[in-house]
Amino acid sequence: MKQLNWFWILFSIWLLSLDHGWWMAAFFFLLTGSQRHQMEVWIVLLLSFRMLIPFSPDIPDQFQGRVIRLYDNSVLIENKGVRYQLITETRLTLDDWVEVEANWIETEDSSHFFAFDTHSYRLQNRIAGLCEARTLKVLQSSKSWRGWLQKKIETQPEALQPALFQLVLNQGKDDSSFLAECGFHYAMLLRLITGILGYFFKEDTVKRAEVFFTLFLLLILYFPMALVRIFFFLIFQKDGKRKSCLPFYGLLVYLFHPPLLHSLAFLIPVGLMLIPHDRSSRILFLVLIQSYFFYECHWISFVVFRWIQRAAAILSLLGWLQLITDLPFFTYSMHALEPFLQLESEIMIGLGKIPTFLFGIGLFHLFSSLKKKRTMGLLGVCFVLLTTGWVFPWAEVSVINVGQGDSLLIRLPLNRANILIDTGKKSASDKVLQFLKARGIRHLDALILTHQDEDHCGGKDILMEQMEIKEIIERYQEPFCLDSFCLVFLGPLKDYEEENDNSLILAFSLNGLDFLLMGDASSQAEKDLIQTYGRMHFDFVKIGHHGSHTSTSLAFLNSVSFSTALISSGVNNPYQHPDPLILKRLFSYGIAVLNTQQQGDITIGFTHFFNFLITSNQEFGIIKKVMK
């Protein structure tokens, strides 16, 4: 067993106190397993004071800054380490110095477990906020090489532009390309060039040419971190041992561009450097990375990973040639190689927060030099757990944050049965699918649609395409039973004129907790419910119609007692659900409220010993059964 440097451990724990700090902590901690240099310790100690300043940007009415990144209809402007995202129609060039009078836009998104989380993305990338420009002045137009290249690319046919931006300028216009950010194609490109040069010149000359060429790229492209990494290892690697310079590289990144430590662009190359150099380890590492950052693993991506790299390298070389010589190299090759790049953009979707522990364990065993067989075995188990959803062995009821709309998932332990109640709007079907896939759910035993409103069954068609659904229930029927679990239909009790009143009212019991789901039923349907069933007790009630004042009448509250109300409503929704009057009523009746607007995704888990609650805004609680 290797000795541990206690300082590093304490330092790691301290780093944890920063947002998402455990990444860095794990990284440094793992590095210390093999490396110990007193000097580094002191350097880190000194530099870490930089991180003591938390990121709490103010949002000024007016700001100046340099354009550092282009997106489809917005740009990123940086000034002294703080970034602002500006939505604009004006064509700006990279490295323009602009002055903006801004109207700040509030982001209309609450948190999710698995879907893209705007808030943490902003924090990680030090983006202060999103704004529109009242006035936009270009104080000094771009004189950099980057700007020149951009203008050059913009003269090319429109269809080619995104790919050229990605491969030549290292700017994914839609921000989805991790390949461009990791810069693997540069590495390949350099290898290609040195390979060609190797035929003609001596080794020393080739080495020097490589360094020179990298430096040249660095200057032109304004120091993308991917190239900095390559350059760094070119200069500092001794006898081919890249591992020994890793801590220094970590420091460098930590010092100049801390957000990078969280990103794939840092983790993938560094991780690949650390793990044993054989195919199986590499594939497992990619599996783990994917399972951490994305809601599902796509097996193709790591099998063809190498080939995507190569294709991108060749394309970027041809892209350069086309830009310089104006001959259509790129245009032709693009057709041949496009499928590869398509694949890349298809598999790299939303950023999420899948349970870290699994990933951590895998990474730990990969990095620490355990016996290969054991590591492989362990990772194999992890992989099975992830893809089958057995990572979450407990039963759960989740209110999926679909914005304005409803979607609720009931899952029995080990995916024995999955029932989805409503799908949310069509536009939210992504979020539902991501949630299901992240839980390893490939089929639904039942899809229950309470009624035909768009915000309840809009995603039905997409869901039916993507999932195997055994049964779709849209009408009142006898209790629906699977295993020992029964879903009871309480309503609608008659035909109402109002469409909302005809919505299905469901009740079920899991592990001692009783649930009532009111759908969109209004006070009229509530009245009939009370009359038919009399006084009732529940633990959780998803109150009717997203908390609108037409539901949750006083009579309902007097007859149905419950301790927690679930509300599914969107941030800043035009109907202003939930109604303040209803919230006040719930408060006065001593009922706690969980609202997807604030809590994001809400999951209530059931284990053999206790029931618990976790929400995607990082709250958790043990549910003690208290009836009031």
């Binding site: 724990i13 944890l16 870290t356 007097n558 006040k584 006065s588 001593g590 709250e619 609680g621």
Partner: protein, 155 residues
Amino acid sequence: MGKLLIFFIVLLVSFWIQWHPWHGLDEPRTITVEVRGEIENPGLFVLEAPATVAVLMDQLEFKENASLDRLSFQQVLMDQEILIIPSKAEMEGTISINSATLEELMKLPGIGEVTAQRILDYRSEHGGFKRLEELMEVPGIKEAKYAKIKDQIRL
């Protein structure tokens, strides 16, 4: 082994820092009710939610001529509610929405036979009104109509 242990400690600490407990259920919810009118000790009363009038009653000292006709013991008090205890004289001539007949209800302004019948229906369906405002849950009675009749009714 030591390394593994420390790894799990790090994991635990990270969990501890990133997650925070939800206090929704244990959170003490107190409501404030203002009581005025025919009582000896008017003022604000702080009660633990959910609180019914029966709970509040222990703390109130009624004057001799106070009338309880507008209160139901089962009524759940709302936060920041204002209760006005009327005198017996004021209550004279008012109509009890919990016991009035169809003809009596129709004497109220703006209440015709249809609405009066609906009130009766609601009463029989829900076992009576537990607070005056509940009248607004009867179809056909909105805020404007309720404002007109609220001084002429009791529970």
